[in-house]
């Protein structure tokens, strides 16, 4: 296991990358990205087994699918800083002719991305397909996916959730980011989804909860525990509670920063709360 301080430093740098990416182009989604920084750090630095050379088919390695594609800033930062593409390329986020599109895409050939996402609710089906392919290929590696909580309002998820349990997709660990926020307000005001744990369990999933998804140790423990639940005939769901905008005090606990970039002054204040660790790009 990596040193926890090392992982925290990595996460802090990722936060800076998120803020600087969205600030430069005055667009993008910092809130959900900041909330999932520990999850991405844990997954790519500590939990998944990835091959060094990117191959679309991903044989003999764990695969990750991001369903809520709007949190691309955190995805791009972690991919760059784990060697998928040059860190300097974060400078091109959302610019014309960039591989770092507003929402992740395979179309521009960015290493690390295996499916386009952004139009919500499609990622779980894709993850299930990749999990089925792993089973056919007798590949024991796992499929990980991340979904927003608001995203579960899309009906396709429930088709996928039903299918995964019925077909014993037990090489899939789907994490739901419970930040309780969506564009028009809190999930409780927009469309309450009731008890998600009971819902997943009623559909036949094994459910694990991470109480504080912004505590890197809790996230690592949760993901590792989830791995021990795989291969037992049930798909595994992690319900991970996070704080949107985590790590920047004025961005926390609100949906206001879902899709809004900080101005110069706000950026300065936000970066001061997240001092440089690995070096800015």
């Amino acid at each position: 296991m990596s040193d926890i301080q090392e992982l925290k430093d990595f996460a802090t740098q990722v936060r800076r990358d998120i803020l600087r990416q969205v600030h430069k182009v005055n667009s993008g989604h910092p809130g959900g990205s900041l909330g999932c920084t520990e999850f991405f750090t844990a997954l790519y630095k500590e939990v998944m087994h990835q091959n060094t050379d990117f191959d679309m088919n991903g044989k003999d390695e764990d695969l990750f699918f991001l369903s809520n594609g709007h949190i691309s800033p955190v995805f791009y930062s972690v991919l760059a800083r784990t060697g998928y593409f040059p860190v300097d390329e974060l400078n091109t986020f959302r610019l014309i002719n960039s591989r770092l599109q507003g929402h992740p895409t395979t179309h521009e050939g960015l290493p690390g991305i295996r499916i386009a996402s952004g139009s919500l609710g499609q990622g779980m089906s894709v993850a299930i397909g990749a999990a089925e392919a792993k089973k056919l290929n007798k590949d024991k590696h796992l499929i990980f996916s991340l979904h927003g909580d608001g995203e579960l309002q899309e009906g396709q998820n429930w088709e996928a959730i039903m299918y995964a349990a019925a077909n014993k997709i037990d090489n899939l660990i789907a994490t739901v980011d419970l930040n309780g926020q969506q564009i028009d307000g809190s999930t409780e005001t927009v469309l309450p989804m009731g008890n998600l744990k009971k819902k997943f369990e009623a559909f036949g999933w094994d459910v694990i909860e991470i109480e504080d998804g912004n505590d890197i140790e809790q996230v690592i423990d949760g993901l590792k525990e989830a791995k021990t639940h795989t291969g037992k005939g049930k798909p595994v769901c992690i319900l991970m509670t996070t704080v949107m905008g985590n790590g920047v005090d004025f961005m926390m606990h609100t949906h206001a920063w879902h899709g809004k970039a900080p101005n110069d002054e706000q950026l300065e204040k936000a970066l001061a709360q997240n001092p440089e660790t690995l070096g800015d790009y």
Partner: protein, 317 residues
Amino acid sequence: MKKYTDTGKKDTRSGFGDGLTELGRKNPNVVALCADLVGSLKMQDFIDENPERFFQVGIAEANMIGIAAGLTIGGKIPFAGTFANFATGRVYDQIRQSVAYSGKNVKICASHSGVTLGEDGATHQILEDIGLMKMLPGMTVINTCDYNQTKAATLAIAEHEGPVYLRFGRPKVANFTPEDQNFEIGKAVNLYEGNDVTIIATGHLVWEAIQAAEKLSEKGISAEVINIHTIKPLDEETIIKSVKKTGCVVTAEEHNFLGGLGESVARTLAENNPAPQEFVATQDTFGESGTPEQLMDKYGLNAEAIIKATEKVLSRK
């Protein structure tokens, strides 16, 4: 005049089913998915021979498209089958993002297209699917005309890297193309050479075009008939060459005149060789219940309609 013989009526969906079965035997990467329409899509033989390579998703087409996209990540070649209406309109955004934009090697196999689905009526008769699919960047769009051609196309698309929409139908229709044909994606098939008019047809209308050409010949009109099985990419060269010779064109398809083969031909000619054109197609309408023959007659999708359109286009030359 060359004679085309119907070797016995067969449904194009059986051509798909038999092609899939053959693929199952020769390509271990081919997998199949279905949304509760195995019997209608004639997939049972493939399933019996390869149960581990078949995925029954239930009545959940959006999930089916996503799973198909995911299966390509791992080197599989998924053939996802359902009715044309549920294979396109219902899941347009899933196809757009997870398949087309993501460049995934998914084969969307759509049966029961057009009005010849028959008695079930307009809820199930899609006449807009060619338009929806051809507008997607990178999507290959194929509409086959008989059993033999559908089987050959099913085999051919497995060898093609990239997303494909394969459209076929429900009723038993004339089977007249060669059993051993070499199906070349994007290559038109010339059925008759002629000098007065070019008739360009796709799907079930190809046989009707042949019948029309025979009757026109009796009236002294020499029709060139082209079978376009691939609407995208369109064999523009063959079309331009033919219309340069004949000077006018009739297009025929079991689809809305908006967004179909006819519009693709019109655009090609507008850019390269403008010529009078008549459209045998549905006229921006939904279908309805009835037998396939009654519906083809009511909506002007048969040899008689092609003859009328030909006479009209000749008068405009």
